[in-house]
Symmetry: C2
Subunit: 244 residues, 2 copies
DNA sequence: GTCTATAGGTGGATAGAC
DNA sequence: GTCTATCCACCTATAGAC
C-alpha cells in the first residue's frame, strides 16, 4: 500500500460502484458482474483486489467506518474534557453519536446519504459474516457511549438504558434506510416533509432535516418515564413512572 | 379454496417453513430447494401452489397481515366509539397500533416472534415487488392512524407527526428485527435484559418485555418538544421548544 | 396434487496469457 | 494489474408422466 504510483483508481472505482449498487439492490441481489461492468473494470478485478464478494462488502464499510469511529470517539473525548469529570448531559451524548453520523449524510465525499442508507439496511442483514463484521467494528465505540450514558443517567437502570440505546439506533437506521418507505407509508414526498425548497442537493437537505427532526425524538424517548415493573424492580429505583 | 378435502397441508407446511427460512437467511439467500426440502415436499410444489418465489413471499405475509390489519382497525374503531367524538389520547393510539402487533409476538399460532422478525427485516428490502406489496397492504391502516394522531395532537404540525410516526415504526422494527444485534451491540444476553427468568418460551417472554420497554420510549419520542424551526415556522405554532 | 427430469440461465471464482 | 476463457455449482421455472 505504498509504492504503486497508480494505486490505480480501479480499487476506488469498484468501492464507489459497489457502495451504490449494494444500497440499491442489497448484497445478495448485486452480482459481481453488475459491479464490474458498471465500474468499467474487468470481472476478475474484484477478486484480485479484494479476494471475494464478502471481503468487498466489508471493505466498502471499513473505509467509512474507521473514520466514523474515530470521529465519534473524539467527539466524546472532547465533551468529557470540557466537563472536567462531571457527567455529560444526555443531549450532548446523543449529539456526539448521532450528529456525527448524520453529518456524513451531508458530505458526499464521506459517502453521503448513499452510505448512510446502505449502513441502515445492512445492519439487519441476516448473513453471519456481516453480523460478525459489524460486531467487531462497533463494539469499542458502543461500549464507550454506553458507559457515558450510564454516568449521565445514574438513576436509570442500566438495562433500561441499553434497551433505549437499541431503540434509538433502530429509529435512526430506519429513518435513514427507509426514506423511500417513508413516502409510500405516509403518502408524502420527502420534499414536502423537508420544508422549504432548497438549491442544495436533495440528499443533503434531507440529511439536515432528518437531524433536526430525529434528535428531539430520540431525546424524548431516552428520557421518557420508566415503565412499570412487575415484582422486585431494579436495584436503584422505586418502580412507578418518573421522568428521568 | 373450497372442496379439496385435503387442501393438503402441503400449502401450509410450505408457508410455515418459508416464513422461518426467509427470516433466518433473507429472501434472496433462501432457495426454493431449501424450502421444499425442509418442508419435505416436492420442488415443484411451490410453483404449483403459489406460482413463483415472489408470490410465495407475498403469501407468507398476506396470511398474517390481513388479520393484523383487521385487528388494528377494530382496535381504533373501538377506541373511537368509546371516546364518542372526542380526540383519543396518543397513548391509546400507540397501544392500538404497536400493542396489537407485539401481541402477535406472544402467540405462536399468529406467527410469533418469527413473523415479527421477518416483518421487521423485510420492510427495508430494496426489491421493488416487496416495496409495492407493503405499500398496498399498509396504506389504508396507516392512513387511519395518521388521521387519529392528527386529531390527538392538534397543536403539532402534521409534517412533524408524520416524521415521528416514521421514527416510531423504525424503532419498533429494529427492536424486533435485531434482537440478536442487540446482544452483539450491547454485550448482553437477551435473557439478562428480559428481567427474571421465566418458564415460558423465551420468545414469548421477549415479546412481553419488548412491549413494556418500547411503549414508553415511543410515547416519549412522540411527545418530545418540537425542534427549532428556521425561517417561517409551521402554520399553527410559535417555533421554540414546547412540550406537546 | 405430486413427482421426475430438465431446460435455460446466472452466480462466484480462478487459471493462465499478456 | 489486467484480461479472456472457462469451470461448475446452483438457481427458478416448467413440461409431462403418473
Amino acid at each position: 500500500m505504498s509504492d504503486q504510483k497508480t494505486t490505480s483508481d480501479t480499487r476506488e472505482r469498484i468501492l464507489d460502484v459497489a457502495e451504490r449498487l449494494f444500497m440499491d439492490n442489497g448484497y445478495e441481489a448485486t452480482s459481481m458482474r453488475a459491479i464490474t461492468s458498471a465500474a468499467e473494470v474487468n470481472l476478475a478485478a474484484v477478486n484480485y483486489h479484494f479476494g471475494s464478494k464478502e471481503a468487498l462488502l466489508c471493505e466498502v464499510f471499513r473505509r467509512r467506518l474507521t473514520w466514523l469511529n474515530e470521529q465519534r470517539l473524539q467527539a466524546l473525548d472532547k465533551l468529557e474534557a470540557q466537563a472536567a469529570g462531571a457527567p455529560l448531559k444526555p443531549s450532548q451524548i446523543l449529539e456526539a453519536f448521532f450528529g456525527t453520523l448524520l453529518r456524513m449524510g451531508e458530505d458526499p465525499s464521506l459517502g453521503g446519504m448513499t452510505f448512510l442508507r446502505l449502513l441502515g439496511r445492512t445492519l439487519t442483514e441476516p448473513a453471519e459474516f456481516i453480523r460478525t463484521f459489524f460486531a467487531g467494528e462497533y463494539a469499542q465505540v458502543i461500549d464507550r457511549y454506553k458507559r457515558a450514558l450510564f454516568r449521565a443517567l445514574p438513576d436509570v437502570p442500566k438495562a433500561e438504558i441499553v434497551w433505549r440505546l437499541h431503540f434509538m439506533l433502530g429509529a435512526m437506521s430506519y429513518a435513514i434506510a427507509g426514506t423511500d418507505v417513508l413516502q409510500v407509508v405516509t403518502g408524502c414526498e420527502v420534499g414536502d416533509l423537508a420544508g422549504e425548497a432548497s438549491c442544495d442537493d436533495p440528499d443533503t437537505v434531507l440529511a439536515r432535516r432528518l437531524a433536526e427532526r430525529l434528535m428531539p425524538f430520540l431525546l424524548g424517548g431516552l428520557r421518557a418515564p420508566l415503565p412499570q415493573f412487575h415484582e422486585e424492580a431494579n436495584k436503584q429505583k422505586e418502580p412507578s413512572s418518573k421522568t428521568v
